[in-house]
């Protein structure tokens, strides 16, 4: 499938960048003129993916987060969120709703559940010690 447009950003895993990341991706996705609620879905999914990198991939240090977003010829929106952090040992388990390694009870364990539910497709690849790559796709409904 032909890529019509593409953007890439790289930023350090500081929590203050969560807002920047979701807004940058949403601004790029706006070219497809998506309905407001579906754009909010993308913002939320990106926010979850980036928060996972900050909280889990780099728990004790600041590392690099890369985002690449694409618009395909068929109108599909693609976004990839990649880190070079600690990786996930058991991706299947990490993706179970309410599963969390957070001890203080303030993380709901719903990051992947939100990504899965708010986007059309979600794929997660991870290698322990190498990092994690999350790819999400969504086709926006046409505004009548």
């Amino acid at each position: 499938m032909k890529v019509l447009n593409e953007m890439k950003i790289t930023f350090p895993s500081k929590s203050v960048n969560e807002g920047y990341a979701r807004l940058a991706v949403a601004a790029f996705a706006s070219q497809l003129d998506p309905p407001v609620d579906e754009l909010a879905d993308v913002k939320t999914a990106v926010s979850e993916a980036v928060t996972n990198c900050i909280v889990h991939a780099y728990p004790d240090k600041v590392g690099k987060i890369e985002i690449c977003a694409r618009i395909f010829e068929n109108g599909e929106f693609y976004v990839k969120v990649k880190d070079y952090g600690c990786g996930i040992e058991d991706v299947k388990k990490a993706m179970e709703p309410l599963f969390t390694t957070c001890k203080n009870g303030e993380r709901a364990g719903l990051g992947f559940a939100v990504m899965e539910s708010f986007m059309d497709k979600l794929s997660v690849r991870s290698k322990v010690g190498r990092g994690t790559c999350v790819v999400m796709r969504k086709k926006f409904s046409q505004r009548g």
């Binding site: 609620d37 979850e48 303030e106 709901a108 719903l110 559940a113």
Partner: protein
């Protein structure tokens, strides 16, 4: 200010008017302020008003669930007020509607 607290000692109610974007970065400060108001007032009802919240991810779920547990320990309740459609969608995904009452106030700032 991301949180404005209104205390009603007569009704034993604390209302927290949240505003702006709730994510992992901002949630910590919000929950600290709400917890301080709970600890000081020991209310029987905590109202969380989302009327001015423009964005929320699952960090907001953690915020509500954490306060729900705290209020349960006090034999109190939590009411979520004025969430947008998007916020309701995130809350429903987490099943929060089963833990806390969710609804609109007839007038902003009026407690249920």
């Amino acid at each position: 200010m991301p949180v404005r607290i209104v205390e009603n000692k007569e009704n034993k109610t604390v209302t927290a008017f949240l505003s702006g974007e709730i994510d992992h970065h901002g949630a910590k400060k919000m929950r600290e302020e709400i917890d301080r108001a709970i600890d000081e007032n020991l209310p029987s009802l905590l109202v969380l008003d989302f009327g001015e919240v423009s964005f929320m991810d699952s960090s907001g779920i953690g915020l509500v669930m954490g306060r729900y547990k705290k209020m349960r320990d006090l034999d109190g309740r939590v009411f979520v007020q004025n969430p947008s459609m998007h916020i309701k969608k995130v809350m429903r995904l987490a099943g929060l509607d089963k833990l806390a009452g969710i609804g609109d106030s007839s007038r902003k700032g009026v407690q249920p």
